[in-house]
């Protein structure tokens, strides 16, 4: 009996650590995208996390793990299309982000629709779902239906246990603003299609929530040149 309890508490402890790591990575991701988050929110310690997000019996309550973040002024500037005579006061393409954790073994179309409806109703421009189970194919088909109002993204919790951009083999990725992109294309006399490409489902592109048509600058360290920058177009 005592052994059983021991195993249970051990499994529970592992579960808490997993949730904590995913929580931290999610915050880092939101911060790296340019949203405003306080440093103590991102770098939450395990003990603080335990006191905040576990229920009385010691298990993680993922229903409580949710947060929203507002885009920083720089991010808003980066994502605002240039003013044109027909559209003198353009609105930025980004807005508040909503992040939610979910511990259902699998997410169906109904749950996905509910989440997307919630996000579009509350005027969140981006909704992020972090799941412990898998997503059914019908649920994936629900996402493009709400594309007009809100962008739904989903990640598996097990993929967020570590932050991939902190790995030594992953170079620094910087997403270019519209002006920077046009300057780049002008400087090298390129058309968009002549750039190397990066897939939208690439793990790093997913991490930064890249959209089709954006250009990312990849800065690698080079033994001979010190730094080597390359550019990729998201497709």
């Amino acid at each position: 009996m005592a052994d059983m309890e021991n195993i249970n508490s051990e499994a529970n402890e592992r579960n808490i650590v997993k949730a904590w790591r995913a929580w931290r990575t999610a915050h880092e991701m939101v911060q790296d995208r340019g949203y405003e988050l306080a440093e103590e929110e991102v770098k939450i310690s395990l003990d603080a996390f335990r006191t905040q997000y576990t229920s009385i019996d010691g298990t993680v309550s993922r229903e409580r793990m949710k947060f929203s973040a507002r885009p920083s002024p720089e991010m808003l500037k980066k994502y605002t299309p240039p003013a044109t005579p027909s559209n003198p006061d353009p609105q930025p393409d980004v807005g508040t982000i909503w992040v939610e954790f979910n511990d259902d073994p699998s997410v169906g179309a109904e749950a996905m629709r509910r989440f997307a409806k919630f996000c579009s109703h509350e005027h969140y421009r981006t909704g992020m779902m972090i799941l412990s189970g898998n997503v059914s194919s019908a649920a994936k088909k629900e996402i493009p239906k709400f594309a007009q109002w809100t962008t739904i993204e989903w990640f598996l919790e097990e993929d967020l246990l570590i932050n991939i951009t902190h790995h030594e083999l992953v170079p620094r990725h910087v997403i270019l603003s519209r002006e920077e992109k046009t300057a780049l294309l002008k400087r090298y006399r390129l058309k968009e299609t002549q750039l190397p490409r990066i897939l939208q489902r690439d793990p790093v592109a997913k991490y930064f929530g890249m959209r089709r048509g954006q250009v990312v600058k990849i800065i690698r360290s080079s033994e001979t040149a010190g730094r080597y920058a390359s550019y990729r177009l998201c497709v």
């Binding site: 073994p105 699998s106 997410v107 169906g108 179309a109 109904e110 629709r113 059914s136 194919s137 019908a138 649920a139 088909k141 629900e142 239906k145």
Partner: protein, 296 residues
Amino acid sequence: MSKQPNKPKGILKNKGNPPPTSTEQPTPDPREVAIKHARIIHSRREIEDQISDSLIELSRFPSTRDSPYNASNPAPADAESFKNLIRLYQPGDYDDLIEERNSNGLCGYTLCPNPRSRIAGGGTFKLVNFGRKDFNIVPTRELEKWCSQKCAKRAMYVKVQLNETAAWERAGIASIQIDLLEEGTDTATTAADAAKKLEKQAENLKIEALEKTAQNARDLALERGDSTENGKTSKRSIKLTIREKSVKIAPEAPSLDIDSQAHLVTEGYKSTFDPNSETVSQENKNTDKKETISDQ
């Protein structure tokens, strides 16, 4: 010289009629064309939305879970609405529905009120019917979709009736009806149904055979070069006269005589050898001369 210089004659074939003038066929307004196509796309989207809505609804089925009704004997209202909603599904959509029901924790067959089965123990594969003739090794994932093998059979019975063609092409066709797997509740009705089914099958076979012969005839006509006009094959207009070669002597079997040089003959010609010919090599001529000298 001619007074009027003739127009140079073109070598290209004469086109029968001059191209129709634009007044006969007014070019359609591009805006109207665009609107028409947009409407078509819109209606397709609507049907797709309808399917995904019905998928969510069907993933919670059956609506009545009372004791007299079960998977083999579903409530009539449920069965009816299931048949109506499933009509436009493609097999892929049906797979999505099964997955969706499983994620809700239900058996994959839509009219089954039972939860899906959970197989104890790990392992991606499972042995079924161990020690019997129909023994098989099945992925556990497949087994866990259903509450029982019977439900799997019922669900597959529906799936094979679904069509791969796009939903909007089938939306208007009322004759597409989905049947449920008939259960052996009372033998009289099932026997009658079986007879009816057999009749229907025989009819289908007959129609198929007719269609096949027609197709074969068409193919043959195409091969022969018969032109088909309005689906009617026209007779060829080639005159055929068969002219026999006249035979004067009775045919004789080839014989082999001893002196025959038939083996030297190639295609009726026997090659000869002329020593004075220019083509004979110089060496042979020299030896001939020597021989004449020694003789002297």
